[in-house]
Symmetry: C2
C-alpha cells in the first residue's frame, strides 16, 4: 500500500472551496491523503481550488483540464465530487469504472434509473463509492443512534426530519454566483434534498441492513415564497419577477418501512424561518425531539409537563453518558460544526484501509431515490409510489452483505462490536 494516497477534488464552487480547507485537508493529515488534482467546469474555479490547496500545504495540485485527465491519471487513487447536483451520479459511475474510490456530495437523484446505475456499477466493478452525508455524523444524530442501540427508547416505530432552511437568497440571487439551485426550483417540484434527515434516520432504522423502505407519498404546497421574496427584494424589474417557480414551498413526504415504521420528511426552503433538521426518533420507551433538542424517557420524565418546556434543550444533559465515541475520540474541526471533517475521515478511512465505506451505493441509491419518487407522487396527487429494493432481497440477509452496511462510523479497532445488534 502507498504511504500517501492521492485524491482529486471535482467541483470548486462554494461547497468545494470550503470543504477543501475545512475538512479534506485536515482529514487528509489524519489519514495520509493528499489533494493531487482539482477540477471545475469553470477555469477560474479550478485555479481557485489549486490556490487554496497550495496556500494551506505549500504544494500546488494539478489543475486538471478535464475529468478524463483525472480518471486516466494512475497516481490518483480517489475522487471527491463536490459539483452541482445534476452530474453527481454520472461522475461517480465514471470514477468506479476507472477504478478510483469515489465519494460524492449530497443531493437527490433525478431518476430511479440513475440510482440503479450506481448499484450496478459498484457490483460490476467492486470499486467502493460513498455518499458524503455529513449529517449522519452530527452530535445529536449519533448520540440518538447510540441511545437507540442501547435500548433506551424501546422499539422504534417512527422518525421524522426535515431540511428546513431558508434558502431564498441563495436560490433567487445565487445565480450571480452560478449556483445550481435556481434551475432546480424553476423546473422541479419534489423533495429535492432528502438525505440530511433521511440518512441518520435510515441508520437508526437499519435500512438496507434488516429493514427497507417500501412506499412513499409526497404532497407539495403551492409555491409562493420565492416570488414574494423576489418582488420585495428586487421589484418587478428583476428577471425573476415573472417566473412561475414549480417547487412547492413545503413538501411533506411519508415513507413506510418493511418493518412497519413510518418516516416523515419535510422540505422547507423558501419560507422565512430558522434552520432546523427536526431530527426526531420515537420508540415505545423514549424519544429524541430535534425541534426542541429534548430527550424523553418513559418513567423518568413527566408526560403532563406543559408543552414539555421544562425539557427543552435537556439533550445536553445526556452527552456525558451517551455521546457517541466518535465525538469523544476525534476532535471535530471545521465546517458545519465538525461533521464535514468526520464524513471525510470516514471516506479516507475506507480508502486507506481498502474497505467499503459506511454509507455505500445501496444507501446512496435508496436515499437519493426519494427525490425522483417524490416528484412522481406529487405529480400523481400524492399517490403512493414504490421505493425499489436496491439490494434485491439482500437487506434481510446480513451474512450476504459486507459488514460495512451496518453503521460502522466508529473505527473498528477502537469500538469493535459497539453496534452489534442486541
Amino acid at each position: 500500500m502507498k504511504e500517501i494516497m492521492k485524491t482529486a477534488v471535482v467541483g470548486i464552487g462554494s461547497r468545494g472551496s470550503s470543504l477543501i480547507p475545512d475538512a479534506i485537508l485536515p482529514a487528509g493529515e489524519e489519514f495520509g491523503v493528499e489533494i493531487a488534482a482539482v477540477l471545475d467546469a469553470y477555469r477560474d474555479r479550478t485555479k481557485l481550488g489549486a490556490d487554496i490547496v497550495e496556500e494551506r500545504t505549500g504544494k500546488r495540485p494539478k489543475e486538471a483540464a478535464s475529468y478524463e485527465e483525472i480518471l486516466n491519471d494512475p497516481d490518483i487513487d480517489a475522487v471527491i465530487i463536490t459539483a452541482a447536483w445534476e452530474p453527481h451520479i454520472d461522475l461517480a459511475v465514471k470514477a468506479m469504472k476507472a477504478g478510483k474510490y469515489v465519494a460524492f456530495e449530497v443531493g437527490g437523484a433525478y431518476s430511479v434509473e440513475d440510482c440503479w446505475r450506481l448499484v450496478h456499477t459498484f457490483e460490476e466493478t467492486g470499486v467502493p463509492c460513498m455518499l458524503l452525508e455529513n449529517c449522519c455524523y452530527d452530535r445529536r444524530e449519533l448520540m440518538t443512534l447510540r441511545m437507540v442501540r442501547e435500548g433506551l427508547f424501546g422499539e422504534i416505530v417512527h422518525a421524522g426530519g426535515g431540511y428546513c432552511h431558508d434558502l431564498r437568497e441563495e436560490i433567487a440571487f445565487g445565480r450571480e454566483n452560478r449556483h445550481y439551485r435556481l434551475r432546480n426550483y424553476m423546473n422541479r417540484n419534489c423533495e429535492n434534498y432528502p438525505t440530511h434527515e433521511l440518512g441518520p434516520i435510515a441508520k437508526v432504522f437499519d435500512i438496507n441492513n434488516g429493514n427497507r423502505m417500501m412506499t412513499l407519498t409526497s404532497t407539495a404546497s403551492s409555491a409562493k415564497g420565492l416570488h414574494d421574496y423576489v418582488l420585495r427584494k428586487k421589484g418587478t424589474d428583476d428577471p425573476l419577477a415573472d417566473v412561475d417557480f414549480l417547487q412547492g414551498d413545503v413538501v411533506t413526504t411519508v415513507i413506510k418501512c418493511a418493518k412497519g415504521q413510518t418516516i416523515t420528511l419535510t422540505l422547507d426552503t423558501t419560507l422565512p424561518r430558522t434552520y432546523s433538521r427536526g431530527f426526531t426518533v420515537r420508540g415505545t420507551r423514549g424519544a429524541y425531539f430535534g425541534e426542541t433538542d429534548s430527550v424523553f424517557l418513559d418513567g423518568t420524565h413527566n408526560a403532563f409537563e406543559f408543552k414539555g418546556k421544562a425539557l427543552w434543550g435537556n439533550a445536553a444533559e445526556y452527552e456525558e453518558a451517551y455521546q457517541h465515541p466518535l465525538w469523544k475520540e476525534y476532535d471535530p474541526r471545521g465546517g458545519h460544526g465538525g461533521i464535514d471533517f468526520l464524513v471525510i475521515c470516514a471516506f479516507f478511512e475506507a480508502l486507506t484501509a481498502g474497505t467499503r465505506p459506511p454509507i455505500d451505493v445501496y444507501d446512496a441509491a435508496a436515499w437519493m431515490s426519494i427525490t425522483a419518487l417524490s416528484e412522481i407522487s406529487i405529480a400523481q396527487g400524492g399517490a403512493p409510489v414504490e421505493i425499489p429494493d436496491f439490494t434485491r432481497g439482500k437487506w434481510y440477509m446480513r451474512g450476504d452483505i459486507d459488514g460495512s452496511l451496518r453503521f460502522n462510523l466508529d473505527r473498528a479497532d477502537v469500538f469493535e462490536g459497539f453496534y452489534q445488534k442486541k
Copy 2:
C-alpha cells in the same frame, strides 16, 4: 325570547362531569342559561350529573330516563352532548330534528355518510348545531389567527398540527372507568382525533369560507406502544396482554386544499412524550411554531440563529400587541386553561341570540370526515382520498352562506369587523 334558556347535558363521564362545573355553569351565568336536565347511559352517572349541578346552583336538574324524554320536553331549548365518540352524530341529528339547538363534543366521524347526515339535517330543519372545538379558542391559536388576519405572516401556504398526547394509561386501563377509547384502539386504525389541531388551522385557511380541503393521504406506523405498556405495567396475565391493537402509534395525514395550501396532521397518543398540539402556521413573511412557541417574522428575526433557540418561547412577547380580543375581553376560567369556558360561551351566545354558531355543521362535517377518510387511505396503503365538499360549492360564494361561517368567535357588538378580510 325567554329570560332564562334551558339546556340538557347528555353524557356524564369524565368529560361531562368536569365540563359542567368548569364551563357550562360559569358560561350559563354569563349568558343566562341553566342546566335543566342531565342524562347518561349509566344511572349512577346521571345522578352524579344532577348532584354536581345541585351542589353548585342549589337547584337539582331533572335526571332524565331517556334521550327521548329530553327531546320531548318543551321547556328544554338546547342539548350539550358530552357522551362517548360513537353516538355524537346520532344524538346531534335527533336534537336538530326535535328543534333543539345542539352542541357536541369533539371526536372523529365513523363514516362520511354520518357527516352528510349532519349537513342534511341542518339544511332541512334550520336548527343550529355546533361542534365544541375548544382548541379554536386557545391563546396561541387565536393570537396566530389575528396575526394572520393582520397580514404579519404574508400569504399562508402551509400549516401543521397534531394531537400528541400520551394516553396509554387511559386507553389501556380506562376500561375500569368504562372509557370508550380502548374499543376504538382495538378496532380502528385512523386519524381518530383530528379536530383539535385541524379546527384552528381550518379557520386560518378559511375552510368552507373561501377555501376547501380537497384530498388527503394518511399513513400509520405499526402499533407497538400499547402492547409494550400493558406488558410492563401489568404483565402477561392482563386481559390486554394478548390484544393485537389495530391503531398505529403515529398516524401522519397530509391534506391538500383548493387554494394550494397543505396541512399535516399527526396523531400520536400511544408513545411516551409530553403533550403538544404543535400548531404551526407558515406564510411568505412569517410563521408561528407551536412546538417551540415561537414567532418568526421575516426581516425581524435572524434565519441563521442556530436551531432557533434564541426564539424559543418568544411568542409571549407578542401577546400584548396581538392577543385576541376574546382573551382580553373575557376572563377565561376553568378547564383546559379557559378554552372550555370560551367554547361554551360561543354556543350560549348563539343560543341566546338565535344565531348560527361559529363552528357549524359544515365545519363539523369537514373536520370530522378526516377520521373516516384517513381510515380508508391507510387501508389503501396511503392512497389519496377525496374530501367531500359538504357545502356543495357554496364555500366560494360567501354571500350565500350565513356570515357565521366566518370565524365570529368575537362578540359582534364589541369587535365588529375585526375579521373582515383584507
